[in-house]
Amino acid sequence: MATEGRAAQGGVDAASLGAFRVLFGLLVAFSALRTLALGRVAPQYLEPELAFPYPGLEWLTTGPAWWTYARFVLLVVLGSLLALGWRARWTAGGVFVLFTWNHLVDRALYLNHYHLVSVLALLLTVVPADRALAPWARRAAGPVGAPWLVLLRGQVALVYLSAGLAKLHPDWLFEAQPLRTWFLARDHLPLLGPLLRLEATAYAASWGALAFDLTVPFLVLWRPTRRAAFGAVIGFHLLTVILFPIGIFPALMVACATLLLSPSWPRRWLGRRPNAGAERAGQQPSWRLRTGVTVWLVAQALWPLRAQLSAGDLLWHERGFRFGWRVMVMEKRGQAAFLVRGAGERVREVAPHELLTPIQARMMATQPDLIRSFARTLRARYEAAGWEDVRVFGDVWVTLNGAPAAPLIDPAADLAADEPPDGWILPRRSSLGAERGEDLGQPRHDFGALTPEVGRLARVRAQVEQLPARPSGRGLDAAGSGEAARPEVRDQLPGAVADDARVRL
């Protein structure tokens, strides 16, 4: 601790930074290689007919197929070069640009660990991580200013702490969800299976993970508990590898946790003498560096808290959910259907899979901002097809953390309006009433409530009686309902009930 105390004020051994750079570069290369090998490039980037761009980043697209594949190939190369320490800052910059490009082209692709990779790559463009374990480095090996290490350590600690704070949620604490659900999905595992079936295991794991996230950065930093805590880090993330298919995330977090070890751990691990002199030899870091590191870490600490500005359950409405390190805190699935209405009472029901890939459809059905984006896309497309005064309504039901399905969106809200109507995201409904047989609200898959003029047969008949006959050809059969309407009704139905079968988007 004493050595590290001095180090924090001056220079520190760059060995742990170098080791992290090596591990990080290898993981980036492996991740890109894995994406290519698993054939995920096409379904995630090339097959989608449309994407959900981030606001302000609409210009960012995946580009042609060759460039999309090239990005992943380049990531393999750049990740490897970063591990070797060849022009580390530039290669880290390349990794940052390409990796961030890949996950910012579509909000439906958001993952916390993708964001973490981008942040770490960005930091490595400024951190002198090539001062150790970099045979190809152009710069001489030596100590680095302590704030560089503080920067990365602080970033890693914030990830753990934010993940811990996100677990302070009633579902996690009092219902052991979503771990209970996920454990039961893995109860066929040898040895672990019987344990995973126990409710107590889910509760113990929930509270244990909470305690782990909130304390482990400090326990690894503190020398007396360092070994045990780092062992816990490895054990914890090893368990997540066994239980959950979450890609490189466990390995990435173990690599990050090495930053919390002694700065000289790689030398000790490699059997070399710790470079004690180097730890004291660094120059006093500039005030600019210290200020910059402080500002960055404060901003990183505050940014996830923006979600607290929105009332209601964050896991339900997801306002401010992204880029907040809320890792593995929900199992959420939904079902969405949309009704497009235009002037002249043109009506068409749209299923998400008509335009979206399975991954996009699944993500969209549970995330209100994606739902609204999709509605606005529908509006634009139908307007382009000649429809006027287009409004889009959504019927979206979601199940969150083992609760019964409940409506996410107000079915009467025009989701394509320029300004979203107040209350368009419904509050999370307590599902406890379901056990007492209480009604939890009525699904509106038929959108009957939204189309009162066509919602009741009696009304349709009344209109038919009042309206003059229309030329045939826009009847229900033409709409492809598959149902033969009564001819005298079908031929005289007002436009309100007719789909426009010509529009196929």
Partner: protein
């Protein structure tokens, strides 16, 4: 150096052995549910279907041989009995294509034109003649029209006789597909490679998908026309010759009863349906008791809503009877719970993620 005793090792391993004989794993439970549903619900339903089909054929034989109010009443009663069994057990129509095809054919919507052409034809009706007819003129709905739309004349009785026989043959196909050695019952009871269901997941998946299809069909095809509900944005209207046999409401009641049976594993209050039940309920309840309660409540409300519908459906539809809207909404609720709550809960169990999620 003497190694220190690892006193903590037994403590660490104890829970593994302590709970080893505890509750069944998800895979074991799925197999248990499939066995239970097959032996206590599906197979008995299929066997009852065969018995009722033969009873109807015999009653129609009797009606043709000795026309009269007694034989007609008996034929009608047998038809109602078979129809109830059929609608309650429609979930059995799954798996191998042969059974599905047979089912689709016998339950073809009435082709009024074909039926009237057949009745106006002078050719004597015999087995060969009936075999040449489409199921729109000899399936369930055609038979209902023959038996319930007034007193059948000689030609109608003859057609009913042969239609009932044809229906019996079609249903025999379903029964055979289930009961023969290595048939659907065996496949569902003990799924595995080389069988209709490669594993327990596939068996459960088939049952859930079948249930979702049935509730969607009830809602879009049978209930939506009553309330002017929409399907794919298109309003549904009643056909001109709607429900002359007064069978529509009974059909809906039995379909939702069948879905409730499948979910709960038995009739409400029965031992099989107690607690988490022996049906699909058991799979949901182990993950979320709240979700299980919600699905059960939705199904029970749907059955009650169907039962509350007036017998005169066309008149009720014209009068905008609130019971019809309640039934329609209840069916939509069941559809949502089966499609979202059940599928999501089982989906978590059957396939974790489409990508690397965190």
């Amino acid at each position: 150096m003497t190694p220190r005793p690892r006193w903590w090792l037994p403590l660490l391993l104890a829970p593994l052995f302590a709970c080893g004989g505890g509750s069944a794993s998800g895979e074991e439970l799925r197999r248990e549910v499939l066995r239970s549903l097959t032996d206590e619900l599906l197979l008995p339903s299929v066997e009852a279907l065969g018995r009722d089909a033969h009873a109807l054929a015999e009653a129609c034989d009797a009606l043709a041989a000795a026309p009269g109010s007694a034989t007609l009443a008996d034929a009608r009663e047998r038809f109602r009995g078979l129809r109830a069994t059929w609608r309650r057990g429609e979930v059995c129509v799954l798996g191998p294509l042969e059974a599905t095809l047979v089912a689709l054919r016998v339950d073809t919507p009435l082709d009024r034109g074909a039926l009237e052409a057949c009745l106006a034809d002078a050719t004597p009706i015999d087995a060969n003649y009936a075999a040449g007819l489409g199921y729109g003129a000899k399936g369930f709905e055609a038979l209902a029209a023959l038996l319930f739309e007034g007193e059948p004349d000689a030609r109608e009785r003859a057609l009913a006789q042969h239609a009932a026989a044809e229906l019996g043959v079609g249903i025999d196909g379903i029964v055979a597909a289930w009961t023969r050695a290595g048939g659907l019952a065996d496949d569902l009871r003990d799924p595995g490679p080389g069988r209709a269901f490669a594993d327990a997941d596939a068996g459960v998946d088939a049952l859930v998908r079948r249930a979702v299809v049935l509730v969607q069909d009830a809602r879009d095809r049978e209930l939506a026309p009553l309330v002017g509900g929409t399907s794919k944005g298109v309003v549904q209207v009643l056909p001109a010759d709607f429900d002359r046999a007064r069978q529509h409401r009974l059909d809906l009641i039995e379909r939702f009863r069948g879905l409730r049976l499948l979910y709960a594993g038995g009739e409400p209050g029965s031992e099989a349906a107690e607690g988490a039940g022996r049906g699909l309920s058991a799979l949901i309840a182990r993950v979320s008791a709240r979700s299980d309660a919600a699905v059960r409540a939705a199904l029970s409300r749907a059955v009650e809503a169907m039962e509350r519908m007036p017998a005169e459906l066309e008149a009720a539809s014209r009068d905008d009877a609130p019971e019809l809207r309640a039934a329609y909404d209840a069916s939509t609720h069941v559809k949502t719970h089966l499609g979202v709550t059940v599928v999501s809960t089982l989906g978590t169990t059957l396939g974790f993620a489409l990508a690397d999620g965190d």
